[in-house]
């Protein structure tokens, strides 16, 4: 177990590095209204366990870099509960990138599933 654990964590980390931006973009492409960090994190949490469980803090830096790359647009609004919240919405460029990523993802998914088929548990 102890030998497997670090390798599992490494695999999770690498997977989440590759998928976090994609997941965030998908979440925002679905949303009707702009979302702020906490809402996005909670929605992802509801959708199930996975590479991001317990690591919601990893989302914030990614949101910022997507914003800087022009895939997202953000504005700050004051809130009653705490510090002002930064609301993110997807840009047209972001949608374009998302659909390109999506087809890459689908190809990868098909590949992984095909290779996994028949592999012993």
């Amino acid at each position: 177990m102890n030998e497997v654990d670090p390798l599992v964590r490494k695999f999770q980390k690498e997977l989440s590095t590759g998928t976090v931006s994609f997941l965030l973009l998908a979440q925002l492409a679905k949303a009707d209204a702009p979302l702020y960090g906490y809402q996005i994190a909670k929605q992802l949490e509801q959708d199930g366990d996975g590479v991001l469980s317990g690591k919601q803090s990893a989302l914030y830096p990614v949101l910022r870099s997507l914003d800087a790359a022009g895939l997202l647009q953000s504005e700050v609004e004051p809130s009653v509960a705490g510090p002002p919240r930064r609301y993110y919405r997807i840009t047209d460029f972001g949608r374009e990138v998302f659909s390109a990523w999506r087809s890459t993802w689908q190809q990868t998914q098909t590949l992984v599933n095909t290779v996994l088929e028949g592999a012993p548990q």
Binding site: E45, G54, Q56, P61, A81, G82, P83, R85
Partner: protein, 304 residues
Amino acid sequence: MNAYTPKTIAQYLDMLKDALRGADASLIRDALYDAEEYLRSELAANPGVSEAELLAGVANSYGAPEEVADIYRDTEVTVQKALTAPKKPAQASAFKRFFAVSVDPHTYGAVFYMLLSLATGIFYFTWVTTGLSMSAGLMILIIGIPFFILFMASVYAISLVEGRLVETLLGVRMPRRPLYQAKHSGWLDRIKALFSDSRTWLSLMYMVLMLPLGIVYFTLAVALLSISVSLIAAPVLWWLVQLGWVSFYGDANISMGGLNPAVASPLLLLAGIALLFSSLHLMRAIGQWHGRFAKHVLVESGAD
């Protein structure tokens, strides 16, 4: 979890700040801002739950302060790598660069290669002349042709070994594997490939050339090193004799254009040191040149 679980948001933020100690100030500010936003939103979303209860659960959603700190640090490293251009190495002064030659491993590799090249040069030259003349002599017999083919294959193998030598001592990247041969090609095809490859013939030439080159390299290395070492040793010995710490049966004398030996000896010492380091520079340059030459002849010339 760890030492203790934070009871208030302020405590959590303090722990996060602690965990990020030493990191970039703007990174710390971003991380604290994000955490505060998340925690306050969590608190607002769960009315009736105390801060302490809420924070106990946070380790499984947002992450414990140490984990969060690690995530931000990792992300920052990735971002920084992408943002910053590679740094230029600091330009050392000419004086430093002149003496730095003595700590460069390539210098000694080159010196050793130059000393070794007499031996390898003699071996290569003998191998090639013997192989070629025996092939020519045996041509009238049936074994002449297979002998020639085997000999040429050996030239190819030796050129790989020489490549390893050049890479180890001179620091020029050389191939570790032979040329790829299609697995199912017949032995006739392989022989044809061996003879139609210009590198095989150039390797032959290289091996012949290594004898004169080896002689020059060896002579240069021995002469330069011994002259500069004797220039350094002579004044030291002269002073030791003058001080009576060392005695010779003969006479220890330094004569340089009628100068007093006491004046001439430090000049000789300086000249010896200058010559020694200049020789190291020269030999390192020769090593670099030979490495490029070997790579060109043995590897690049016929590459498609």
